[in-house]
């Protein structure tokens, strides 16, 4: 096997894994100080639970081509046993076990993204079970459909999801809507993020880690990876600047959190396109993401229909992801996709395939996430939400026995 590819994919895997604590800080900075530990932990523990699920059966369900009636992959890779020393059986130019590791990092961050919808009130123990079920019944099948040999990836016209616009972002975005609906609004929503530097730190780690996410999805240290790298950065850059300018136009001030959110929106949107568009395409995608996500947040679209998607997961990852998926169909560059290119080149194939992928992901993830959460809510002893008094006191003390910051003369 090519050691350069292995080197880059090992690095990419580490980079993507780093995104989950990055997300922890992004989200953690946005909530109130009395809920920071909980918010960090929702992401951090996903590195624990989702890793184990993935190693034991998740990867098999997502990538074993001995299909399970088309719903998911087969069970041959349970415990990663059979792929341990395989090289290239999965069709990547790296050891199969490295494919499993790289893909694992996606299965970790995707459920962590959802948590932004229900911070400050979701029961941590129920969340541990949710993680197991959601990775198994939502993430793994969708991953299989798109990347593991399933129907979405085989659509006529050619579905293009380079690094997870559907699998990761739309998936998490719509699950966030279901979760926000079922868990209900916060009793007291607070006004300001409690720690803007943490938001910036998180955004920075996400930005850097995303190079692993997108350029790593090339599966190799090659020209496609380089394109994905440059496009990723370009889209993030222009979306951040776009948000800054819109912020300035509407308020006369430039929100640091907004700029960070803009960068993330650009990164989300370029994800499905990363290796398949040129720099101009990346600029267009990033610009669109900055505008769309800014106004979605600006007009509080979900809040208007009564949903407290607290950290606006749907506005950023859902809408950003949908825009990115469609935009990939628009701006795909034939030289990179080895096809007739996107809508701009008069080829509607990718666009239509991606549209189907979007709708399928919204439908499946929305419904199954809803069912999982609905059932968890009804099971005695579980339930989605902590008690009112625990929420008032802050979930850090009540669920974790900890306070984020102690600056108490007595200690």
């Amino acid at each position: 096997m090519d050691t350069g590819h292995i080197a880059w994919m090992l690095t990419s895997t580490a980079l993507v894994l780093f995104m989950t604590p990055g997300l922890a800080f992004f989200y953690g900075g946005l909530v109130r100080g009395r809920n920071v530990v909980s918010t960090l932990m929702y992401s951090f523990i996903a590195m624990g639970v989702a890793s184990i699920v993935w190693v034991l059966w998740g990867f098999s369900l997502a990538f074993n081509d001995a299909s399970n009636f088309g719903w998911s992959g087969g069970l041959d890779y349970i415990g990663l046993a059979k792929i341990g020393t395989g090289n290239g059986e999965l069709g990547w130019d790296i050891p199969d076990l490295l494919v499993a590791a790289f893909q694992m990092t996606f299965a970790i961050i995707t459920p962590a993204l959802i948590t932004g919808a229900f911070v400050e009130r979701f029961k941590f123990t129920t969340y541990l079970i949710f993680l197991v079920l959601w990775v198994t019944f939502v993430y793994a099948p969708i991953c299989y459909w798109v990347w593991g040999g399933g129907w979405i990836g085989s659509l006529d016209g050619g579905t293009l999801d380079f690094a997870g616009g559907t699998v990761v972002h739309i998936n998490a975005g719509i699950a966030a809507v279901a979760a926000a609906y079922l868990v209900g609004k916060r009793r007291n929503a607070g006004i300001e993020p409690h720690n803007v530097p943490f938001v910036v730190l998180g955004a920075a780690i996400l930005w850097i880690g995303w190079f692993g996410f997108n350029a790593g999805s090339a599966g190799a240290a090659n020209g496609t990876a380089v394109f994905a790298f440059v496009n990723t950065n370009t889209a993030a850059a222009i979306a951040a600047v776009t948000w800054a300018l819109l912020s300035y136009i509407h308020t006369g001030r430039i929100s640091g959190v907004g700029v960070a959110t803009g960068a993330v929106a650009g990164l989300v949107a370029v994800t499905p396109a990363a290796g398949w568009v040129g720099v101009a395409g990346a600029l267009a995608i990033g610009l669109g993401a900055g505008i769309i996500c800014h106004y979605a947040v600006h007009f509080e679209i979900l809040r208007k229909i009564g949903l407290d998607d607290s950290l606006e997961v749907f506005a950023v990852h859902g809408l950003g992801g949908i825009w990115g998926a469609l935009a990939t169909g628009i701006f795909a560059w034939g030289a990179l996709t080895d096809s007739d290119g996107g809508l701009v080149n008069g080829n509607a194939g990718h666009f239509v395939a991606n549209l189907i992928a979007v709708v399928a992901t919204l439908a499946y993830s929305g419904i199954v996430s809803f069912i999982i959460l609905f059932v968890l809510d009804k099971i005695p002893g579980l339930g989605l939400r902590i008690s009112e008094s625990d929420e008032d006191m802050g979930i850090d003390i009540s669920s974790h026995g900890e306070r984020g910051y102690v600056a108490d003369g007595a200690d």
């Binding site: 946005l30 308020t251 929100s255 959110t261 947040v297 509080e300 607290s310 950290l311 950023v316």
Partner: protein, 118 residues
């Protein structure tokens, strides 16, 4: 003895403290507070930075000093002068409250009474 509690703009704190020292004050304590008076708060970004929200109260500094009765006027006017912004003063410049202190003790010596604050 009198207790003077002065709420001032945070950025004025050092100026006021220097003025207090210049006015002969020997000891003071201060801490960060949030407060509302006539001033109508500030617009801040909420959530993910897409729109502004109103925050009624603002960061201020509370300065507390216990002084002998006789220094009252000097202390108050030194605070007023050093805390006021602009020629005319502005909303939000702060407020000063005066109350009675019945006793004072210096921990290190056990000494009591007015001499502890002179």
């Amino acid at each position: 003895m009198l207790k003077i509690e002065a709420v001032v703009r945070p950025e004025r704190t050092s100026t006021v403290l220097e003025a207090l020292t210049a006015a002969g004050v020997k000891g003071y304590s201060y801490w960060n507070i949030t407060g509302k008076g006539q001033q109508e708060g500030v617009e801040v970004f909420t959530g993910r930075g897409g729109h502004l929200s109103h925050r009624v109260a603002l960061p201020k500094t509370m300065i507390m000093t216990v002084i002998p009765d006789g220094m009252k006027d000097a202390v108050i006017s030194s605070i007023v002068e050093s805390a006021r912004t602009g020629e005319e003063g502005a909303i939000g410049d702060g407020k000063i409250f005066v109350s009675q202190i019945e006793g004072a003790t210096r921990v290190s010596t056990g000494e009591m009474g007015e001499s502890t604050v002179m």
